[in-house]
């Protein structure tokens, strides 16, 4: 009898719990609104951004490893220059700069009214400290290659010199950076990509121990428009406006970047729980839902390309004719139409059409979809045999394996299309999907035949990491392509600072890349920002997520 009573009571308790839970929460959310209006007269403007993965809490821009930490450091820290929405460099911490006559050094004139978030003034010492931090022999991060062109880098990096020779402090607010030879991506790699960290904070720890200084890493002090407020791993990060920001007080009061589940984020957007969402791939059904619900969208172009890497070390595959034939064999326009829904285009060279290094559509071979032509090239130029709908190499039917990582939906879905396309030219293609780290490792080591992968170029045209012989096995030259002629062009291209002088070189390179198809280019995808109709002033680009964020506002 007692037991019965007990269980009845328990059930009753649970039911009450459930109902009080719902009921009181409604009141709490009302209270919240009341509290806000009472405290501030008007509702504070909080921008809620969705992130599909959490930052790990390494909020030092010199030590970050992924874009999720990067979102936070981009808000809290600044570099000497920033890239605007026209892909041009604009002053940031440096109010102007002068390029020397020999193009080997740039003098930066720093802003004088900039303060770190803890109130200390920002000076040239911080700039020098940042570059020496990254060049330090014990530096535990991944950015030293960005600045290795700075004079004296090698000596300093090997511990042979006490200071980085190429960084010269002229006075408190003037600093001159010199490189060995002309370094074309100077403003990109050395300036835009390196955010300045405060000397007075980071000199307190040994450089080698900086990656373990959890307290400092999780309480970042920067100069940016937003100050760090709170971080809860795998849940959210909050930053609030910097009242002393040099370009004016940000119009948003705070920004909450919260981890969401990509499967449910749409519901959260429609419920008004999220105001800003960056989509790397676009699904038309989702897009229609957003637009019908009144959300605004902004298309984002990424400088990079999705391609099918082809192992050029493989004696069967490593021929220009094979690569060209494969480009004809794959219905790339079909992939763009059916999987990207217009948010992208077929890629035929390394650069996207809107970038200055792109030579123009008329100069490039479009490699239109044509299985017959593919078969013709393979049989006539590569010496393969085509019989009864099957492709033979040295008398044996050809069977290839396509390795690709899971995660990117469009890429996953393009694999079976390619498989079908290959069937049409008589080649059996086995699909091998694996998780990202495994697939990357295989591609890097050359343990594959064909592989789907995407590579980003960043803000500069320098593509040595993707196509130069020296990049085989160590960087992004997954196709293991080697061509002395292209190597020479790519080396030539980084010898000038001025875009106008580099243009003809890169146009030539792009045309050569198009002709050679070092890897099978597939498409340039674009993404989109979906945002609340009330959010205005957003100027997100593929290279600068938070450009001009102090002027974003709710209306």
């Amino acid at each position: 009898m007692n037991k019965k009573l007990l269980s009845t009571l328990l059930i009753a308790a649970i039911i009450t719990m459930i109902f009080t839970g719902c009921g009181s929460n409604q009141t709490t959310s009302n209270d919240k609104n009341d509290g806000q209006s009472a405290a501030n007269n008007s509702k504070p403007s909080i921008l809620r951004m969705a992130s599909d993965s959490s930052p790990s809490g390494v909020f030092n821009p010199a030590l970050i490893q992924d874009q999720y930490n990067g979102y936070i450091t981009d808000l809290v820290y600044e570099a000497l220059v920033i890239m605007n929405d026209d892909i041009q460099y604009e002053p940031a911490l440096a109010e102007r700069w002068e390029i020397s006559d020999d193009s080997q050094s740039i003098t930066f004139y720093l802003r004088k009214n900039v303060k770190w978030h803890d109130g200390k003034p920002f000076t040239a010492e911080d700039v020098k400290f940042t570059y020496e931090f990254i060049a330090h022999p014990d530096y535990p991060g991944s950015k030293s290659s960005f600045i290795s062109a700075i004079s004296g880098f090698k000596d300093f990096n090997e511990g042979k010199s006490k200071s980085l020779e190429g960084i010269e402090i002229i006075d408190d607010y003037t600093v001159k950076i010199k490189t060995d030879g002309v370094y074309a991506p100077f403003l990109d790699k050395i300036c835009f990509q390196i955010k300045i960290i405060p000397k007075h904070v980071w000199e307190k720890v040994e450089v080698s121990k900086s990656i373990e200084a959890t307290d400092l890493l999780r309480n970042p002090i920067g100069t940016g428009p937003f100050k760090f407020k709170e971080f809860s791993p795998d849940r959210y990060t909050i930053v609030e406006k910097n009242e002393d920001y040099w370009a004016g007080i940000p119009k948003l009061d705070s920004i909450v970047i919260q981890v969401v589940n990509p499967e449910t984020v749409q519901a959260q957007m429609l419920n008004g729980e999220i105001d800003y969402l960056l989509l790397l791939n676009i699904n038309p059904d989702d897009m229609k839902t957003y637009l019908d619900a009144g959300f605004k969208q902004l298309q984002i172009n990424f400088t990079g390309f999705q391609h099918m890497a082809i192992n050029n070390d493989n004696p069967i595959l490593g021929h220009k004719a094979v690569r060209q034939a494969f480009a004809h064999a794959i219905n790339r326009q079909g992939i763009v139409d059916s999987l990207l829904y217009g948010y992208g285009n077929v890629a035929n060279t390394a650069y996207i059409p809107s970038f200055w290094a792109y030579p123009g559509e008329d100069k490039l071979n479009p490699y239109e979809y044509n299985p017959e032509k593919a078969i013709e090239i393979l049989t006539k130029e590569a010496g393969w045999q085509y019989k009864d709908g099957k492709m033979y190499v040295d008398g044996k039917p050809l069977k290839l394996t396509l390795t690709y990582p899971s995660g990117n939906k469009v890429r996953e879905l393009s694999a079976p299309i390619i498989q079908e396309n290959f069937k049409n030219i008589g080649i059996e293609l086995e699909l091998q999907m694996m998780e990202f780290p495994t697939a990357s490792a295989r591609l890097k080591k050359g343990e594959f035949e064909l592989g789907l992968v995407g590579h980003g170029l960043g803000a500069d045209a320098d593509a040595r990491r993707h196509f130069h012989t020296d990049s085989i096995g160590v960087a992004n030259n997954s196709s293991r392509y080697s061509n002395p002629e292209l190597d020479k062009l790519l080396e030539e291209g980084v010898k000038y600072l001025e875009v106008e002088k580099r243009k003809p070189i890169y146009h030539e390179a792009a045309i050569l890349i198009n002709e050679e198809m070092p890897t099978i280019f597939l498409y340039n995808g674009s993404g989109a920002v979906i945002m609340s109709p009330k959010l205005n002033g957003v100027k997100t680009t593929g290279l600068s997520t938070f450009y001009d964020i102090h002027n974003w506002y709710f209306k």
Binding site: S24, Q67, L217, R235, Y236, F436, V474
Partner: protein, 320 residues
């Protein structure tokens, strides 16, 4: 009895070492490295190598093993590669939120499943039994993430009753009672999913255990003696049926910590399940091995506990 417990405890040591060596070996021989999924296109291999060397990635496997074990024995589980803080900190922050879900849903499912199972068994082939059986089959066969997403669609999105994900309202700054209610509100959906799924299997188990007992001779004898149906079921049959049920419940204690990876992921619940998922996808070796170690300990101890409880509640079992 004590002798048995001690013997059983000692037997756990080799099992534990075996489990651990296998996990350690598998984790470290998986292709990829902790910096493989870093998205920066500009990271050179030289830089990557320096970073990998710093975390001992190139050490031979036995060296890694000895290093890890000797440190672990001193209570140092290592440093998480991803979170840049001691593994113990990372784990201790998650245990609470996972236990919150798993303990409550376990209690709820026991409270719901056991009585339902008993009623189902005693009223075999009744309408009640059919409905309960159908529900239980749905609960067993429905994938957790699908059920979770359906609940989100109906209860959160269409009806707006519950928040879609997370553990509390971010940035609201609630304290005390308000915070408690806020968390309770966020907890509802994951609890419903976990409870439903646990309940289904536990109920099926209770039902069949009960059915088996009811058909035994001594129950018929009890009925023949003229005992009331209530006494027969609750005093004579239930006691014996409870033995396997208790074992099952005790065994599931071992999984309390592991969290439900899928459910936690769907609701972005910051628990052990999402942590393990993150750790594996980022190849955070110290974190993976530590979490696995912890889970192995839990499972082994719950097995031990189940054996001991079994011995206590079932007088027929003698171990010496």
């Amino acid at each position: 009895m004590r002798q048995y417990a001690i013997r059983r405890l000692l037997m756990m040591i080799p099992v534990f070492i075996g489990v651990f060596i296998i996990v350690f070996g598998l984790v470290h021989t998986t292709p990829g490295d902790p910096y493989m999924s870093m998205l920066s296109p500009d990271l050179t291999d030289a830089d990557r190598e320096v970073m990998l060397k710093a975390i001992g990635y190139y050490d031979p496997l036995p060296v890694k093993y000895v290093k890890w074990v000797s440190r672990a024995l001193q209570g140092d589980l290592g440093y998480s590669i991803r979170y840049k803080e001691p593994v113990t900190h990372v784990i201790s922050r998650r245990i609470g939120s996972t236990l919150l879900l798993s303990v409550i849903s376990l209690i709820l499912s026991v409270i719901i499943a056991v009585p339902l199972g008993i009623i189902s068994a005693t009223k075999q082939y009744s309408i009640f039994d059919y409905i309960a059986t159908i529900l239980a089959l749905i609960g067993i066969s429905i994938p957790a993430f699908f059920f979770a997403l359906s609940l989100v669609k109906v209860l959160s999105f269409d009806l707006g009753l519950f928040p879609i994900s997370g553990m509390e309202t971010i940035g609201a700054g609630f304290t005390g009672m308000k915070r408690f209610l806020d968390i309770l509100h966020h907890m509802m959906l994951p609890i419903i999913v976990l409870t439903f799924i646990h309940t289904a299997s536990l109920m099926r188990y209770t039902r069949s255990a009960m059915l088996e007992i009811i058909q035994q001779d001594y129950v018929r004898t009890a009925r023949a003696k003229g005992l009331s149906e209530k006494t027969v079921i609750y005093k004579h049959a239930l006691r014996n049926a409870m033995i396997p049920i208790t074992t099952l419940i005790t065994l599931s204690l071992g999984y309390l910590l592991s969290g439900a990876v899928l459910t936690e992921t769907v609701f972005v619940w910051p628990g052990m399940g999402t942590l393990l998922y993150q750790a594996v996808s980022n190849r955070d070796y110290p974190l993976i091995t530590s979490v696995t170690l912890l889970l192995a300990i839990c499972v082994l101890f719950s097995n031990l506990l189940a054996d001991i409880i079994y011995a206590i509640i079932d007088p027929r079992i003698r171990y010496d």
